[in-house]
């Protein structure tokens, strides 16, 4: 059987004509109200939507209140400040990434847009790693201290807590290289679709390597190699 691409092109033209026939049967579709429906649903479904935003602002307000009421207690103030800085950085980072993602111009030529998407992917994975790994320190002792202080309990007044906190922070710092090592060594054995596997791939740098490889492929594609 010897079929040329030109013959296939003619067959495709006939096939596409049948599509046009089917589409012309329903010109009532794609109306304004359908489009407005899409718009409303898109607004409601935004990832960092009103609920997430409200939680973020409420957390910032609570931490702001904590800082204002504990400024005369340097140790507690410092813990609140660390937590506040982390929450601000994570929230602002997420908002900026979403803004950039929403601002992507899909009308750009395919190679240019796909390269932009991959660059964003690298930025997103890096930000996730940064937040997840620094979170190993911030989410434990500072959160515990601030939460208890909010209810009027100074954990540092509890005998032995200072030593416990120091060990915990040290363990958190040690957990960073350990998490990277474990991810690189064992991520392959985890289920492909599990969220654990996704986090492990991200920490191990596999996602970034994959994105870089795709960027290199796009460059080769552009240069006809």
């Amino acid at each position: 059987m010897d079929v040329t691409l030109e013959q296939l092109r003619s067959e495709w033209t006939r096939h596409a004509d049948r599509l046009n026939g089917r589409l012309s049967e329903g010109l009532e579709l794609m109306r304004e109200d359908a489009l407005r429906g899409h718009r409303e649903r898109v607004k409601r479904g935004t990832t960092f939507g009103p609920f997430a935003m409200a939680v973020w602002i409420a957390t910032l307000a609570l931490l702001g209140h904590f800082l204002a009421t504990h400024w005369h207690q340097p140790l507690l103030f410092a813990h609140g400040l660390v937590l506040d800085a982390w929450v601000i950085a994570a929230g602002v980072g997420q908002l900026r990434r979403e803004q950039v993602l929403r601002g992507l111009d899909y009308g750009l030529p395919v190679v240019a847009l796909q390269a932009r998407v991959e660059e964003l992917r690298i930025a997103r994975v890096r930000a996730f790693n940064r937040e997840f790994l620094t979170g190993q320190i911030v989410w434990w002792i500072p959160l515990l201290v601030v939460a208890f202080a909010g209810f009027g309990v100074d954990l540092y007044a509890v005998p032995g807590f200072a030593a416990f906190a120091a060990w915990n922070v040290a363990a958190g710092l040690a957990a960073i290289p350990l998490a990277i090592w474990l991810s690189r060594r064992y991520a392959e054995r985890l289920t492909r679709h599990s969220w654990v596997r996704q986090i492990a791939d991200s920490i191990a740098g596999r996602d970034i390597a994959e994105a870089r490889e795709y960027l290199a492929r796009l460059r080769r594609f552009e240069s006809a190699d």
Binding site: A34, Y106, G107, V110, V111, A112, F221
Partner: protein
């Protein structure tokens, strides 16, 4: 989008919405996934339209948006910004009417589709646009590479497909003899 702009967009979409189904044909086999993709392309076109400045033809621009959405859908990264929403009922009705079209292709196109499934998403874009009758210059404008590059790559695709096509089509021929 202002009402006049919206009306202009809808008018253009009525003329060119076959583009969405052609791109979906090239990038999606699964019926449900195809419905998601067509809806996602529609939303992305609507979102991107305010930036359409007429420097390229609307069909060129619509192909860019549809292909970028399909490739991002395949690679899943672009979907992070996308929003999964229930299928609009008017779009669902249109999809139901168009759905049989995806399966009523002739034997040659069916074989070609199998081969296309094995191609990477960028070469797939070139082949789809070529089949749709676009010139090398038009394909270059949509994909974002030079026309000379398009010609070189299309020659490679033609050579590769020729052999693969004969090999894949062979067993079916034997069954009929």
């Amino acid at each position: 989008m202002k009402p006049a702009e919206e009306a202009r967009f809808l008018g253009l979409m009525r003329q060119h919405r076959a583009i969405l189904y052609k791109v979906a044909y090239g990038y999606c086999r699964d019926r449900d996934e195809r419905q998601d993709l067509v809806q996602e392309m529609t939303i992305q076109l609507w979102r991107a339209f305010p930036r359409f400045d007429g420097r390229v033809a609307f069909s060129t621009w619509a192909f860019r948006v549809a292909m970028n959405t399909a490739i991002s859908h395949l690679r899943s990264e672009g979907r992070r910004g996308a929003v999964t929403v229930p299928l609009d009922e008017t779009l669902a009705a249109e999809l139901a009417r168009v759905e049989p079209w995806f399966e009523e292709e002739g034997d040659n196109l069916r074989v070609l589709r199998t081969l296309v499934d094995g191609m990477d998403e960028l070469n797939r874009a070139l082949l789809l646009l070529y089949l749709d009758g676009h010139s090398a210059a038009e394909i270059a404008e949509i994909v974002g590479i030079t026309a000379a590059n398009v010609t070189t790559r299309m020659n490679r695709i033609k050579n590769r497909l020729q052999g693969d096509f004969a090999r894949l089509a062979q067993p079916e021929e034997k069954e009929w003899t």
